[in-house]
Amino acid sequence: MHYESPVRQPLILGDKSYNQITEDVVRPIENAAPRSWWVVFSIALVMFLWGVGSLAYTVGTGIGVWGLNKTVGWAWDITNFVWWVGIGHAGTLISAVLLLFRQRWRMAINRSAEAMTIFSVIQAGLFPVFHMGRVWMAYWVLPIPNQFGSLWVNFNSPLLWDVFAISTYLTVSVVFWYVGLIPDFAMVRDRAVNPVQKHIYKVLSFGWGGKAKAWQRFEEVSLVLAGLATPLVLSVHTIVSMDFATSVIPGWHTTIFPPYFVAGAIFSGFAMVQTLLLIVRKVFKMEDYITIQHIEMMNIIIMVTGSIVGVAYITELFIAWYSGVEYEQYAFLNRATGPYWWAYWSMMTCNVFSPQFMWFKKLRTNLVFTFVISIVVNIGMWFERFVIIVTSLHRDYLPSSWSMFSPSFVDVGIFVGTIGFFFVLFLLYARTFPVIAQAELKTILKTSGEAQKKHHSDHGAHH
């Protein structure tokens, strides 16, 4: 009944029982935070506050305090927006697409990956909102009657599609995450001794009791949400790419953008999941659940999507040449050899070259190496967005208006601030939420637990 081929590596190491999984998952919640947590949290908080200050300065003075000029009207803000949205994609991919494909290894990592999705989409949302300049009029993007704003919103505009895509994505990700969290909060509630803690988890767990009918509906709801989230996640970065692709700027006006952006998003998102989980498994001693095998699987996805991104870069170059359009040809020549050549080649090195190391099993199962590559990939993906946005804008059709972009301290402050905000949220999450979907993980213990598998192979599958 619980047989799984011995060829498959166990997903839960050691001799675990259901109770042991419970104990391991609640340990970070019930125990005091380690000193290292406080150190990292303090640093993140300072970065966050710097970002808050920079945003306050932006709102108070106007977006003229950014490094934008009349030629380069989009730069760090949109770069950061696209970068953060992209990072978010891996969480949905892990929880939804891998659920549809029945990949059991997702169960140990989906909770944290979804948390990452939500926290990074929050960061992403800040940039377009503050780029509006007069943020107090942000409600103008909502479809509300003309008396409240200027006119009806323009449903032909990709920027408005973005509003709908990002808000749907954020809210659907939140409910998907929360539906899975309810049973795990109930587990924490039922163990809590401290009355304040017990009350908080009682509120959070919505009274969940694990009734058979509730579980039946839970599984159906998870499946349907996965089915909805899969096209949703693909639509989000598709629509983000249309912000560029539907314009007539050389370097932006290409039909390859939607798949190319989606592949890049998954690529950078998995890299960020690696960065976070390598720390989480170490600090919270989750090595038995987030195993080397999990890390290896994610590295393979990074390698594949990195290669897809590489093919997309080369296709872009080829099509620019093949199109015969001078402006398009110049845009790409300028990217690779113009004043921003260093950004282009950083992107190429980080995104196309570095993931190729993952062909070697020794390297893709090496934790330190993985950690380094995961950071390199995210730097590379930031450069990709910077290259696409800034190099296409800074030299357009009219040479007399060519210019360069350099960020102001406010641009830097806001970007650093979002990194701080992201880590503040993630660190708080890691201390108060069950970081592993323990209820789901318990369902695979008998098939994929190391001791249980060994028992099977020793005694044969008699059932």
Binding site: N19, L151, A165, F176, F206, W208, A212, A214, L228, A439
Partner: protein, 173 residues
């Protein structure tokens, strides 16, 4: 709801293994007793079939919500862009909804997903009686960790069946 003056006594049997639970549920039902509820720490596959639960229709509800979302999106785009205040934006056609439809596809899709997902989850919470601050539905806190509880109305000879089925703890309440 039964309006009796005295609540019917219930028997609660705890099991410590999901496989034992499934076979116990089958044995109890085969012996002719009616199970009122089973509490488990995780979704036990095959339990709903063993208990004879009907399949859930929540996926069908989600589909209906999706259709509703699509309808709302069509109405919204038609009213704002075509009917109430048509404008020529970027030379894109605005004479009728059909011609302008390709530009609305992202909105139609997003609102369909938005309605289907959110209304399904609201439905799920409501029919399961889940809301912030609700009292725990499980009578024994161990059933969210590693115990499995079968709850059923007290009856003659029931305790023996439960013991034989592998229950590790039996309590009457």
């Amino acid at each position: 709801m039964a309006h009796t003056t005295e609540p019917t006594p219930v028997v609660r049997a705890l099991y410590h293994d999901d496989d034992v639970l499934i076979s116990a549920v089958k044995e109890i039902r085969a012996a002719g007793y009616k199970i009122s509820e089973v509490y488990t720490p995780f979704p036990v596959h095959g339990l709903d079939k063993a208990m004879g639960l009907k399949e859930t229709r929540i996926a069908m509800a989600a589909f209906m919500y999706g259709v509703l979302g699509l309808t709302v999106a069509v109405t919204l785009t038609w009213f704002m862009m075509i009917s109430d205040w048509p404008q020529n934006i970027g030379g894109k056609p605005n004479l009728n909804w059909g011609m302008n439809m390709p530009a609305f596809v992202p909105i139609l899709f997003e609102l369909t997903v938005f309605f289907a997902a959110h209304l399904m989850v609201w439905t799920y919470l409501i029919i399961n009686g889940l809301y912030p601050g609700a009292d725990a539905q499980n009578p024994d806190p161990r059933t969210t960790d590693d115990y499995f509880m079968v709850e059923l109305p007290a009856a003659d000879g029931l305790v023996d069946v439960l013991k034989k089925s592998g229950a590790v703890e039996i309590a009457e309440a």
